[in-house]
């Protein structure tokens, strides 16, 4: 056995606190160590070259790299060994950084601790065994959850690359929040005009299947091999017969249901299409309000339908499908400001949220694009826009910034001025966050050309007076209270995660942050991946973002899925658990404690007790190598030592402990 030790300076990260030269020197005397050296940056190209050269020159068969955390560079050094012709798993790392130099001061004890850590690593690597990774097949089919612009973009990209996609959307139509908007900043493109072509592309694409009015119920499996149960809710409309003529919509007697698409400022009927450009452009029946289902009588839509497409007997269809990759694009929800007493608890009709104002401005909205007050239908002469309602406000809502409100406030003020020439607009703001392409110029245009009155300060209270609303705010730049009498007040409410985000995360086995936004694998370097392989994030479900970032992220998520599908097979992890079926007694403890549900109990032939004539069966545990993450919980719990973790076998750990104990004895 010939072990090589490589001690890294990590620039000054380790060397400032640990005497790395002394560590490398000390390692020379450790058992089986034939070569020991130090270098500034082991993970760099020259560093890795040094390791490869040393392996060749000194005929090393095992390596210890004393540097940073294996979480950072273990794969790097494993690859390095592979390139040098050794089994990649014959390397061990001693963490002299996160577990030593970063948590101690420069003292002799610190260097001694570093030496102990290296000695332990040397003792462990002496017991390492060559490991290999398993190959698994990939189902080259993607599931995109969420049909907003993020899901649409991801679906189109994956399908254009030649792989089939199922796009699941829980409302009756794809389009998401973007379809609700009037014009988008900073180009003032009409949202529907730029989105509907993509929606139609999805509908027409031979490789995309849109399952609207559907929801994901359960997710099993692992990367390349997911099994997802999806409930396709009964629309009560046979889509193969429905032509989208819309006759049924005109005659439905149940009116006045607050329309979700119109954010509550408009209404719909029990049989409805969320908006005229819906894709699929077929209606659904809301069974909670439809008289046929609540009272057992009506049937008008069925009578009106020329093709007999209405089917009250239709049932939900629950299917289980196989996918190789899942893109999560479930978007966001908006904070309900009606908890704020200072703004009227949501009871003043002329205090509305920005999305409601968006629907009022939109030509296909409930007022046909005429900006009017909800209370009396009159045109407002003064509109106040308030930023940060629920954002940057840890007392009432969320401490974070919702990113897009500064821009849409400016957009709404500009468009209001454009439509109503003599309206006065006021925007109460704390900061103006206009950090996208063309954004700052857009806000300046709103202020300088369109004359929006930007007032730097929050609003303490809104109350009604004489048919108007008194808005009590402040201008902190002037140091004065500012009271504005407004005909209409528009609140920029915070973006928040969907109410069932945490539940979906649980089904997918991914994490959420403290607000329930889905957690990316690394905030800087892995924005579209999550810690679970095969699942990717796109759009606002990860964190508030605007449309350009959403589309970019969606394409990013799609590219990850395409990359996965471009492989022939997936390589599993090498350092995973295995069960010795001869000694396993089938108690099932490991299956119970496994956090990834990666162990199942199976029936095998009991070789000890069986004869050729009489086969006796026994129960043993078996690890699903695709799902196992190598956490070691099963190995820790197994009473018969049958469950073990490759790369962390008992003899390896005990060798480390012995090495440490020896050193302590020597020191005493």
């Amino acid at each position: 056995m010939r072990i090589g030790v490589f001690v890294c300076w990590c620039g000054s990260n380790i060397a400032k606190t640990v005497d790395v030269v002394a560590v490398a020197e000390a390692a020379k005397s450790f058992p089986k160590v034939v070569y020991s050296t130090d270098y500034k940056y082991m993970c760099s190209e020259p560093g890795q070259s040094m390791i490869r050269d040393a392996i060749r020159e000194h005929k090393l068969d095992r390596v210890v790299v004393a540097s940073c955390s294996p979480r950072l560079h273990e794969p790097t050094f494993q690859r390095c060994l592979g390139e040098a012709g050794l089994n990649p798993y014959m390397v061990e790392m001693a963490n002299l950084r996160e577990q030593c130099s970063w948590v101690h001061e420069r003292t002799p004890e610190t260097t001694e601790k570093a030496i102990e850590l290296v000695r332990m690593a040397v003792a462990k690597v002496a017991k390492n065994e060559p490991l290999s990774r398993s190959r698994m097949g990939i189902t080259k089919r993607a599931l995109v959850i969420g049909g907003g612009v993020a899901g649409i973009q991801a679906a189109l990209d994956i399908a254009d690359a030649g792989y089939p996609v199922i796009l699941v959307e829980r409302t009756p139509s794809i389009g998401g929040h973007m379809a609700q908007y009037d014009k988008t900043f900073p180009t003032l493109d009409c949202a529907a005009c730029i989105l509907t072509p993509k929606m139609v592309d999805c509908a027409n694409h031979p490789l995309i299947d849109i399952w609207s009015y559907s929801e994901v119920e359960d997710v099993q499996g692992f990367v390349g091999n997911f099994e997802v149960t999806i409930r396709k809710r009964a629309k009560s409309v046979d889509e193969s017969k429905c032509t989208g003529c819309g006759l049924c919509l005109e005659k439905c007697p149940v009116k006045g249901i607050p329309s979700e698409f119109d954010a509550g400022v408009g209404t719909r009927r029990a049989i409805y299409r969320p908006f005229p450009q819906a894709v699929p452009n077929k209606p659904v029946i809301d069974r909670e309000h439809c008289r046929m289902f609540t009272a057992g009588k009506c049937g008008v839509c069925q009578k009106m339908c020329p093709t007999g497409a209405i089917d009250y007997e239709q049932q939900d269809e629950v299917v289980t499908e196989k996918f190789g990759a899942i893109v999560v694009a479930t978007g966001f929800d908006l904070w309900d400001y009606s908890v704020m007493g200072e703004y009227g608890y949501g009871k003043y009709p002329d205090v509305i949220s920005a999305i409601q104002f968006e629907r009022i401005m939109n030509a296909s909205g409930p007022t046909e694009g005429h900006i009017v007050r909800p209370s009396d239908g009159k045109e407002p002469k003064s509109i106040v826009f308030i930023s940060c309602v629920g954002s940057r406000d840890e007392e009432h809502g969320y401490p974070y910034c919702s990113k897009v409100c500064c821009m849409y406030n400016a957009k709404q003020a500009l468009l209001a001025k454009d439509k109503l020439h003599d309206v006065q607009t006021y925007v109460f703001y704390m900061d103006i966050r206009a950090n996208g392409k063309g954004y700052e110029e857009f806000v300046r245009r709103t202020i300088e050309e369109y004359g929006a009155n930007y007032i730097r300060g929050r609003v303490s209270r809104i109350y009604p007076d004489n048919g108007q609303l008194v808005v009590k705010g402040a201008d902190t730049l002037l140091g004065k209270q500012i009271e504005v009498r407004a005909d209409l007040v528009v609140l920029a409410t915070a973006m928040k995660p969907q109410p069932d985000a945490k539940e979906l995360a649980r089904k997918l086995g991914i994490s959420t942050d403290q607000y329930n936004w889905f957690s990316e694998a690394h905030p800087k370097l892995k924005p579209v991946e999550v810690l679970t392989d095969g699942i990717y994030l796109a759009g606002a479900c990860q964190y508030p973002k605007d449309i350009p970032d959403t589309v970019a992220q969606a394409s990013g998520a799609a590219s990850k899925a395409i990359c996965l599908f471009s492989k022939e097979a997936i390589m599993g992890e090498a350092m995973i658990a295995y069960i010795n079926e001869d000694t396993c007694v089938g108690c099932g403890l490991c299956a119970e404690v496994c956090p990834f549900s990666a162990i199942e109990l199976v029936e095998v032939v009991d070789r000890e007790r069986s004869t050729r004539e009489n086969q006796v069966m026994k129960t043993v545990a078996r690890v699903n190598e695709g799902v196992c993450k190598g956490c070691g919980t099963c190995a820790a719990g197994c009473r018969s030592l049958s469950a073990r973790l490759r790369g962390f076998e008992g003899k390896q750990i005990l060798a480390e402990i012995d090495a440490l104990a020896d050193m302590v004895k020597v020191q005493r």
């Binding site: 007392e395 929050r458 303490s460 209270r461 140091g479």
Partner: protein, 194 residues
């Protein structure tokens, strides 16, 4: 509103502003427990303050001046004396900062440091109020008003309604006294011992 910031010829020395010097902020925090650095100057306090209209410095500006260490300007302002203690700012602040408590602390420091109050009558009123408590353990309103008028020389304020109230028996003639008034007086010494 003017801030008396003095600049040297090179413009680099603003002795009235002491950014980075935590002394005044720390003084405030020791008395009232508030961390003024939490304030992000949103102006919510100014927007809702019922007395801001009468103040020389807006409430959020008082907070800003405390943040940057403008001790003399804050303690010499009338704003800190005009704070009515209505707690609207503290109730609505999105960062949960208690500006009303900071105002209290400013007044306390001003008095302890012997700084002349910009609203002398208001300080006199508070002082006479507390003296009444030290005398009898309770505040006898007629005595309070009498002593206050003497000190503030506002003899003729509210003569009519004062007389009205007296005639209706609302200004009791005889002050009531706490028996264990010595115990009450001892409590006045607690601050000085800190």
């Amino acid at each position: 509103m003017t801030i008396n910031a003095t600049h040297s010829a090179s413009g680099s020395d603003c002795s009235a502003l002491s950014f980075g010097d935590p002394t005044f902020r720390d003084e405030i925090r020791i008395i009232c427990g508030e961390n003024v650095l939490s304030c992000y100057q949103c102006g919510e306090c100014t927007a809702g303050c019922p007395v801001a209209f009468a103040m020389d410095i807006a409430p959020n500006q008082v907070m800003r001046m405390v943040q940057v260490g403008m001790r003399d300007e804050v303690l010499g302002s009338s704003a800190i004396w005009l704070c009515a203690g209505c707690e609207t700012c503290r109730t609505r602040c999105p960062k949960g900062v208690g500006l009303s408590k900071v105002m209290d602390a400013c007044r306390q420091i001003a008095v302890q440091s012997g700084i002349k109050a910009k609203e002398p009558n208001i300080l006199k009123f508070h002082e006479e109020f507390l003296k009444e408590i030290a005398r009898n353990g309770r505040v006898h309103e007629m005595s309070l008003v009498a002593f206050y008028k003497l000190r503030s020389k506002r003899f003729f304020d509210d003569m009519l309604s004062g007389t009205q109230m007296f005639l209706k028996g609302k200004l009791g003639l005889i002050p009531s006294r706490v028996k264990r008034v010595a115990e009450v007086r001892k409590l006045f010494k607690l601050s000085a011992n800190r």
